[in-house]
Amino acid sequence: MAGLLDYTDGSSVLHRLNPLTKLVLAFAVCVAAFVTGNLWYLAALLAFSLGLGFVGGIGRVALRLLWTLVRVCAFLFVLQLLFIRAGTPIWLFVTDVGVATAARVSLRLMDATMPLVLLLSVTQASDLSGALVKVARLPYRYAFTLMTALRFIPVFTGEMAHIIQAQTARGVPFDTKNPLRRVSLILPLCVPLLVSSVGRIDQAAISAEARGFYLRRRDSGYKDYPFAVRDGVALLVAAALIAAAVLVR
């Protein structure tokens, strides 16, 4: 999963959309997927998401994501087939209602995940938080907390990888095939990592304050996030997606 949410630089329409428009668009696809039960429309939404990836110049990322989701959903699909007993059997334990429901749930899951992940990977976290503060009026404190949390994820995973590497070099069998044993080896590492991260976050708070964090007001941000015509168009598309979902139900 590492690198999936990484920002991909570019200058496509998607990159230039207002970060809030992107959030609304992703959210609209989600809503549409839960409003409709129409399998064809759910598939169309998936195609739309994939299309977004190609428009944003991150087609490869989109396909990779789709492949990951397909594998997860295939598992879910089979699980559902096993448990749904309603409807008429069509083959062994499989019923017609089972197939339809399983397909619907799997598609919905993919529809809900794809656009959000794809749009986030063409949006810089700082722009997202900047727009949330300036346009959506989110208090800066919360935006900053969110940003810091996001920023620390790779720091911690990197640190964890370092510790594991160092311990492996000293003969601790982290490469064991037994997942239970792996977990039992990794769990004790979480404590020192947690302790060091609390120290880190303290230091981050100090340095933010020493650079005037508490003086910051809503309009302190240097960048502005105005809405352009393309944002209007994107918002219309978002509305149309939901309207169509209601119509085809």
Binding site: S126, Q203, A210, R211, L215
Partner: protein, 327 residues
């Protein structure tokens, strides 16, 4: 600047010390008065009776072995102690004439821009440019001035080409430069840097000190830098402070402090090799030789000292080459 206040001299001359201290107090931009601090989790004081006056416009270097309390001193000068770290705090720190306990950390940071030792943890942004923007936005720098300030700061530390890079993709040394640029962009009256070159190559370290010197000379910015590379401090700082075991054991003009070369060495602070050399030579042949800091300076001092004796024997020049070799 008060002349050297060595451990022993401070005890015998307390009366005169307070007498002379009154004058620099008025021009001192940062001063500590009998400052002691023990961390809540610590058993012995990390700072022990520190009396440090930093005159506005000075270039101060602080050196000392690991665990001497240098970072703790930086925390006290920047207001992080007592505002964040808990512990027992005695004495006072005055920043721009006001007690640091009576101003908030934010107030202090209007005067002092600090680069802390843990570079990783003090980054607030994902992208280099945003990191530099952060302080400028917060302190309300007019928007029209901001792009110029960012560009200037990045140019000063030589990382203009990293402007759009993500911080997570930078090397340790590059991150140090980013942190420094973010502090420089604020154009503070005092720059407080805790080992700003620890991950830099020698050339970049020199470049950073050149920049600091230029800012100090041209803009009168007071520089306080904690640094392990004694050569850099000797070449660029005007005042040197030596810490050991929580105490400020020497403090004064660089050359005056270097006179305590033997004491410095017992504390694990090695003087520049040329200084060690001229010191040894001075002891061997007697006085008449000044304590030198740079190679050029040593050469001319030697020429002067030995010009009379040079044509006596060839033995002298032979000896000179021998001692020069390890330099």
């Amino acid at each position: 600047m008060t002349p050297t206040a060595t451990e022993t001299a401070a005890e015998t001359a307390t009366g005169t010390a307070t007498g002379t201290a009154a004058a620099p107090h008025t021009s001192a931009i940062i001063a500590t008065d009998r400052l002691s601090f023990t961390y809540a989790a610590g058993t012995r004081p990390a700072l022990d009776d520190i009396n440090l006056q930093v005159a506005a416009g000075d270039f101060v270097g602080i050196i000392g072995p690991s665990g001497a309390g240098k970072s703790t001193l930086a925390a006290a000068l920047s207001g992080v102690i007592p505002h964040y770290w808990k512990g027992s705090f005695y004495g006072a720190v005055r920043v721009d004439g006001r007690d640091s306990c009576e101003q908030s950390l934010t107030d202090i940071s209007r005067t002092v821009a600090t680069v802390f030792q843990d570079i990783e943890a003090q980054m607030v942004a994902a992208i280099v440019e945003d990191e530099v923007l952060f302080g400028l936005e917060n302190f309300g720098v007019p928007k029209a001035d901001i792009p110029g300030r960012v560009t200037d700061a990045l140019d000063l530390v030589g990382i203009a080409d990293l402007r759009r890079r993500t911080i997570s993709s930078l090397s340790g040394g590059q991150r140090q430069k980013v942190a420094l640029a973010a502090a420089l962009a604020l154009r503070p009256r005092v720059l407080l840097l805790d080992e700003p070159t620890s991950e830099l190559d020698p050339a970049s370290s020199v470049q950073i000190f050149e920049t600091l010197q230029r800012l100090n000379r041209e803009q009168g910015i007071t520089v306080i830098v904690i640094e392990q590379k004694i050569m850099l401090l000797c070449a660029y700082a005007r005042t040197l402070g030596v810490m050991d075991g929580g105490r400020l054991v020497h403090h004064g003009p660089v050359r005056t402090v270097l006179e305590h070369i033997e004491d410095l060495e017992t504390r694990g602070v090695n003087a520049p090799r040329v200084t060690t050399f001229t010191h040894a030579l001075r002891r061997a042949v007697g006085a008449g030789l000044p304590l030198t800091v740079t190679v050029d300076e040593t050469e001319s001092a030697l020429r002067r000292a030995f010009s009379g004796a040079a044509n006596d024997t060839t033995h002298n020049t032979q000896g000179e080459r021998d001692v020069y070799a390890p330099l």
